[in-house]
């Protein structure tokens, strides 16, 4: 089992014991959401700023998330451009939340795909303003480097569009991002099964973010546990050094064995 001590996820110099980030939307109740969050053992929990009233101490979602041993990471879900995202981020900071922000700029309400131009623009503005920015992005290796260059502390490429549960459909591009990244790579969006999370971790992602698959499961708490295990298994496999995949069978009595060593 990975722990804070032997294999922490380090983001912006901060250690996290879990490599599973979870979202809080789409649950059947705030109570169910909290149970699933706790079961996931996640130490980074995202919350959509548009869903909460930060001025209301009785806000259902904020109340449900109180007292947890995790970083509450506000996200700018619903923002259509950089300006909206920046406004939301500032609103969160003004309310007393830590200046960490999961940046989401998704102008298309259908597939919720991130706008690369506005995401980069917002990231630059927010970082200059002192925010710690974790951007949701396409699995675009160049964009990943650009976001890293402006000071983002992670890159969070999508596996497939939000809520689709299709898994890692951007495998090759995420592979290039991992190869070139010097900040943690968090596979975000589209992971529909624990095996998808395992796959991402086996590839070398540093963490994954899951929401829909847990929130809409028949038993969200059990699914949260399953994802936790999937992430841990994938990470262990990655660290253990998986054997390479080969195209052909390798005979135990090799055809060229007569040549000797």
């Amino acid at each position: 089992m990975t722990t804070k001590h032997n294999d922490p996820l380090i983001i912006a110099g901060r250690n996290f014991g879990s490599r599973l980030l979870v979202g809080t939307g789409k649950f059947s109740s705030s109570e169910m959401m909290r149970q699933a969050v706790d079961a996931s053992a996640s130490e980074i929990v995202t919350v959509a700023l548009r869903r909460v009233d930060l001025t209301d101490p009785q806000d259902d979602m904020i109340t449900a998330l109180q007292g947890g041993d995790f970083l509450l990471l506000p996200n700018t879900s619903g923002a259509r451009d950089a300006e909206e995202a920046v406004r939301l981020a500032k609103l969160a900071r003004a309310s007393g939340l830590e200046p960490w922000i999961k940046l989401e700029v998704t102008p298309d309400p259908r597939y919720l795909l991130p706008d690369p131009v506005e995401t980069l623009k917002a990231a630059e503005i927010l970082i200059k303003d002192g925010f710690t920015v974790l951007p949701y992005m396409h699995a675009d290796p160049i964009l990943a480097k650009r976001l890293e260059d402006v000071g983002c502390v992670t890159v969070m490429p999508l596996g497939s569009p939000i809520g689709t549960n299709r898994g890692i459909r951007t495998r090759d591009s995420i592979g290039i991002i991992i190869e070139n990244a010097s900040v943690p790579v968090v596979a975000d969006a589209g992971l529909g099964a624990p095996s998808h999370a395992s796959e991402a971790m086996e590839m070398g992602c540093d963490a994954v973010l899951v929401n829909t698959a847990i929130a809409t499961a028949d038993n969200p708490t059990e699914m949260a546990i399953a994802f936790k295990m999937g992430v841990e298994a994938g990470r262990k496999a990655y660290l253990a050094g998986q054997p390479a995949v080969k195209k052909t069978a390798e005979a135990s009595s090799p055809l060229t064995g007569f040549l000797g060593k």
């Binding site: 789409k26 649950f27 109740s29 009233d53 923002a79 259509r80 451009d81 406004r87 939301l88 809409t216």
Partner: protein, 387 residues
Amino acid sequence: MSFAEVLEKSNAPNLRAGLDEISISRVERTLGRQQVDFSDFLALISPAAEDYLEVMAETARAITLRRFGRIVLMYAPLYLSNECTNSCLYCGFNVHRDIPRITLDLNQVFDEAQQLKKLGFGHILLVSGEAPKYVPVSHLENILNLLREDFPSLSLEIYPLSYPAYVQMVDAGADGLTLYQETYDRDVYDIMHPAGKKKNFDWRLDAAERAGQAGFRRFGIGSLLGLNDWRYEAIALAIHADYLMKRFWRTQVSISFPRLRNAPEDFNIPAPVSDKSLVQMMLALRIFLHDAGIVISTREPAGLRNSLIPLGVTQMSAGSRTEPGGYSHPSEEGAQFMVDDHRSPAEVADAIHRVGYEPVWKDWDRVMHEGYRNAAYNQRDAQGSNR
């Protein structure tokens, strides 16, 4: 191409006629597909699909869960005025009806809004009859400016406006526009709207485009079910929603299913829609349009509303009063229509919980609208040649 032209070219009457020829095997092929196209949608609203509602319901439920999760957005209508210059045969506000006419002043609107705020609503739909003399654009503008600080989201369900007037509405704080065409059949429309400004079918039909260019963020469309053959209306709605989603790709489109149930005594509902047909229409639209919001109002009774939630509903009104001033001073007189779900918002929220969903009272933030207005300016500039 305007939507009026798109609708004309689609030859919806022919598409409707073809539904009766669709076979059971065509329906079954559709139900096996991951992604359905428009011809599949036609199969799903055909008579042949009537025996497959359970399978369709399972598919619609799964799509909705993936896309929207287990949540239902709560909203409430706030009626500003029941003055109206139109003579829509089915409507309680018809100019010829002898009802007490009321237009709320700013103080009364504020009082009504405070009642809704106390009940927990963050999303308000401002509703008015077509009476620009009593509810001019300037009054609407003042109302929006009055309420914008108190509510994360303000939508309008009012008479169709010009492009500049829609711009004023967006700038004053409106982020959503609901406008039902009532029926997409020109002939039926003519009969149902014998006089008044509403008689102009195309002015209403193309209102969403003017609103889209002005920068509204959410559209609500719908047919008043009962006026015309529901299958024809479903075809037109699907084409309209698909058109709006592509034309205004940043805008969230929702479809409402207002059904005439308790029409005025002097009006016979020409094409009553059964529960089964309502469900078939809703399921088919959900399976075709994964991302469209689906709205069920208090026109429908509590039991049916509860049952519809898991089938794809994403928004519900609750505790609605359809007479101006009704939240502060409830009265049966002067209402647009009689609601059939008389539960309080808290009771509706409890019922939503009981079927395993979360009632959501806030899913937008006013702070975003300020940035959004600026984006709308840019969008208007970019689309200037279209208006």
